[in-house]
């Protein structure tokens, strides 16, 4: 074995160990709820908990609405920037990066001040309003991932020529976006959607400070008060995230292949 290859494997094994040993330890710990034997008791307790089910469903519904809002905002914006306003791209990219720079806690305090029950827009005066605000906040948090995913998808197709080809065939903007652009960037949109899903499912700060019954605060509460269940929950959350990533990989096989870049 050449020296270069040896070091490559050594670094790889070290990295894998750094990643997998805590994971294996967590799995092992989550199975030790019953004294002396390995069992799935911790998983049974977690999955059977009505609080788990309620908070998980709440977060899934919020994630779906966040994805819909994100797609509605990002797809037309990224498309228009590519088609007509390429000079604005750096500005929009900077704006979409802001949620990575500004901590969620700052955003949520801003929301509380702006949309409190005494403000002209009292989102926080009702449960529905607070849920809507949570969805809006999550859409902002997911913006860097969603925008980049969609923009990368748009880069693989000749947006301008395809738009013009559809226009000259009589299509209006609605038809162009739904029948030409969206199907060709669908996999990119789905990638963005799954990343959004993964973020929303585990998010704690916004949900907690807006006092929403989401999965993140439930997770935190469990960690503070129980021993084995948090380990089981971590593994479940991890499986959900990995499931999302696998789905992105599987779906990307069905992506329409570009005529100019067959693969």
């Amino acid at each position: 074995m050449k020296a270069g290859k040896f070091w490559a494997w050594a670094v790889f094994i070290l990295g894998a160990a750094y990643f997998f040993i805590p994971l294996i330890a967590t799995v092992e710990f989550s199975l030790r709820m019953r004294r002396g034997v390995y069992s799935f008791d911790a998983y049974k307790v977690v999955l059977g908990d009505s609080q788990f089910q309620a908070t998980f469903i709440f977060s899934v519904v919020v994630a779906i609405f966040t994805i819909l809002l994100g797609v509605l905002i990002v797809v037309p914006t990224a498309y228009w920037i590519r088609l007509r306003l390429p000079q604005l791209r750096p500005v929009v990219e900077f704006i979409t990066l802001l949620p990575l720079v500004i901590p969620a806690i700052v955003i949520v305090f801003g929301y509380i001040r702006m949309y409190g029950s005494n403000s002209p827009l009292p989102f926080l005066g009702s449960n529905l309003g607070a849920n809507a605000l949570l969805v809006i906040g999550y859409a902002a948090l997911a913006l860097p991932y969603m925008y980049r995913a969609v923009d990368t998808g748009l880069r693989t197709i000749d947006v301008r020529t395809l738009t013009e080809a559809a226009q000259i065939l009589g299509a209006g903007w609605g038809t162009i976006i739904t029948r030409v652009i969206l199907p060709n960037v669908l996999i990119a949109v789905l990638s963005g959607a799954f990343l959004t899903f993964a973020i929303v499912i585990g998010e704690f700060t916004m949900a907690s400070l807006l006092n929403r019954p989401a999965f993140g605060p439930y997770l935190q509460n469990l960690v503070a008060n129980r021993a084995y269940e948090p380990a089981a929950l971590s593994i479940i959350a991890f499986a959900i995230t990995w499931g999302c990533m696998s789905l992105i990989q599987i779906l990307s096989r069905f992506a329409p292949k570009s005529a100019n870049r067959p693969n």
Partner: protein, 354 residues
């Protein structure tokens, strides 16, 4: 010309301070095939895009079938267009691509299916309906793009350098196919190209463009044989340009390197002492005197290139030089560099460039 089907009137287009098309005028008869020929940046594609509606003219108007379409959106114009980059929708099959315009127009599915089959037969790809664009060659993709453009029966067909991305052999066969389909359907067509051979071989008329203007509009025969400007003469075909001095404007005498050439009737507006640019196509010149050639010039062989069936010779005549091709003859060896040589031509073939 009969009533024009497409009329481009005093069209100008500026992007900021840069004017890319200046006072462009062209009338195209119904069923006519007109090519816009010119180098990159001459404004030919911009004019086409204004006809399609993708660019709005800064001034002037565009009339199709008697209707002013200058301010109409592209999807309201009923025009077909084929793009250089094919622009087939990658997510749709060939059949769905061709049916796209029909579906948008609200045609019932059965009628649309019939029309798609008809189009596939026309382009001789009847078995391709279920394939995806990435499964086709460049030539096949461009034929599908043509079928898609024609399927909704447009009033006008625009072809934006449709052959540029294809290899040489496919280019020749596809341009003939395009022309034959165009003739069969009788559809008025504008074809943009920078390839003079393409334009000369398939057009009814050619508009040679330069610097945002139409330098000359004429049949391929006129453009090649009677170029109106120096640019057209230089851009279309190979041309020898000689500098001459008018010695007697009234009798049409011009001196080229102290040798006299008679150009009766061609010196409109010139006066004795003027310097002129005179042009000759290589095929109009012979090495040594030929019957029917009334003018000859003496010079010296400067270069000889043996190309097999053809020998390309450059003859120096003072400060001027003239290229000509002669056929190879196994009985006669090619001339040698430095040999004295007489070239001859008919004075009628000599063009005066303005």
């Amino acid at each position: 010309m009969a009533e024009p089907f497409l009329s481009i009137q005093h069209v100008r287009k500026s992007f900021g301070a840069t004017t890319v098309v200046e006072d462009f005028n062209l009338d195209v008869a119904p069923g006519e095939f007109v090519s816009f020929l010119g180098p990159s940046g001459c404004g030919k594609t911009t004019v086409l895009r204004m006809v399609a509606g993708f660019e709005e003219p800064s001034a002037g108007k565009i009339v199709v079938g008697g209707k002013d379409i200058t301010r109409l959106k592209p999807n309201q114009r009923n025009i077909g267009m084929v793009f250089q980059a094919y622009a087939l929708f990658p997510n749709l099959t060939v059949g769905q691509n061709i049916a796209f315009g029909l579906k948008v127009a609200g045609m019932p599915k059965a009628d649309a299916d019939r029309r798609v089959a008809e189009m596939l037969d026309m382009i001789k790809l009847p078995q391709m309906a279920d394939r995806y664009p990435y499964q086709l060659s460049g030539g096949q993709q461009q034929r599908i793009a043509l079928a898609r453009a024609i399927a909704p029966k447009p009033k006008l067909l625009l072809l934006d350098e449709p052959l540029s991305a294809l290899d040489a052999k496919v280019r020749v066969s596809l341009r003939e196919e395009i022309r034959s389909i165009q003739k069969k359907l009788g559809i008025t067509t504008i074809f943009v190209t920078h390839d003079q051979e393409e334009a000369l071989s398939i057009s009814d008329r050619i508009a040679v463009m330069y610097g945002g203007k139409a330098e000359q509009v004429g049949t391929p025969f006129e453009i090649y044989n009677r170029p109106a400007t120096k640019f057209v003469a230089n851009f279309v075909g190979t041309l020898n340009v000689l500098e001459g001095k008018v010695t007697d404007a009234a009798s049409g005498k011009v001196q080229v390197n102290s040798q006299e050439v008679s150009l009766k009737g061609k010196l409109n507006g010139s006066k004795s002492g003027d310097t002129l640019s005179l042009a000759l196509r290589p095929e109009a010149i012979s090495l040594a005197r030929q019957p029917g050639h009334d003018t000859s010039l003496s010079g010296e062989i400067a270069e000889v290139h043996f190309l097999g069936s053809v020998i390309r010779v450059r003859v120096g005549i003072g400060g001027n030089s003239v290229s000509l091709d002669t056929f190879n003859n196994s009985a006669t060896p090619p001339p040698a560099v430095g040999d004295k040589a007489d070239i001859s031509f008919s004075s009628g073939d000599m063009l005066v460039l303005h």
